[in-house]
Symmetry: C2
Subunit: 158 residues, 2 copies
């Protein structure tokens, strides 16, 4: 298909929070997001894959300045006696996104994007897609280098 990658965007203001060992049953995601919405925390990206052995992990990104408020709201959302095993890992992350029209399938664009990052020795911490976009999360220290190599890989100049 004729995919035209028109640009690369960089967002250095995000933090990602991973909540793991979640009970993979109806109501868990609702509890977490009622807590975040109730605290007025703006969530940019939400990522969750299928659970394994009844446990799931949810990852989401929030503005860096909200990282502590978000963590507090989440911790308070669990019933007192049920806090065991929830791992909250909050770190800063840089989000690099490739934007393109006609991206009905992501495999070719993803292969080019992931190849460019691999050759630069940059580890991919997060992947999220939409019809027109593939976003990856990388270490903040890798943000500029990642943006540069991805620009180059898609022929958008240095």
């Amino acid at each position: 298909e004729d995919v035209v990658v028109s640009g690369v965007a960089l967002d250095k203001n995000q933090a990602r929070i991973v909540v793991s060992d979640l009970p993979d049953r109806p109501g868990t995601a609702a509890m977490l997001f009622n807590a975040l919405a109730g605290a007025g925390i703006s969530v940019d990206t939400i990522v969750q894959g299928p659970g394994i052995d009844g446990k799931a992990r949810m990852t989401f990104t929030v503005p860096r300045e909200d990282i502590y408020r978000a963590e507090k709201a989440l911790k308070e959302s669990f019933p007192d006696d049920d806090f065991s095993g929830r791992v909250f890992e909050a770190y800063e992350i840089a989000k690099v996104s490739v934007v393109g029209v006609g991206m009905r399938s992501h495999s070719g664009v993803a292969a080019t994007l992931f190849d460019a990052l691999a050759e630069a020795g940059i580890n991919i911490q997060l992947v999220s897609t939409s019809e027109i976009k593939i976003s990856v999360g990388v270490e903040p220290d890798d943000a500029e280098e990642a943006t540069r190599v991805v620009h180059k890989a898609f022929g958008l100049g240095e």
Copy 2:
């Protein structure tokens, strides 16, 4: 913010594949997607959160008819002696998406969406977001019920 949820979309033709116990180092995602792109497999959604203890999981969705070809291409992409521990789980999935303009933050819309599914006893297997959309993956048997309760939750009629 003024979010207007304008519609609910249902895609019943997807299958999701989870590849776990992946080495969380540069090059892994590139290897998988070179295999998928090389086999001409169209990938709709890609989901990955941060790895834990050096191991990561990637989830992606492909058209149902491509599920076996995709699994074969992935298995063949691992070097012969390095196949241990990769878990391939391929199942059919139904994707229900809420589309809205002005969705700069997902927390309020996500809370409403997740609440509606929780009250209907529908388990969320996958979550993926974009600027204008939140998509969830559910059991194919729950597809119609999920679409109905989400329509209702956002005042879009039954």
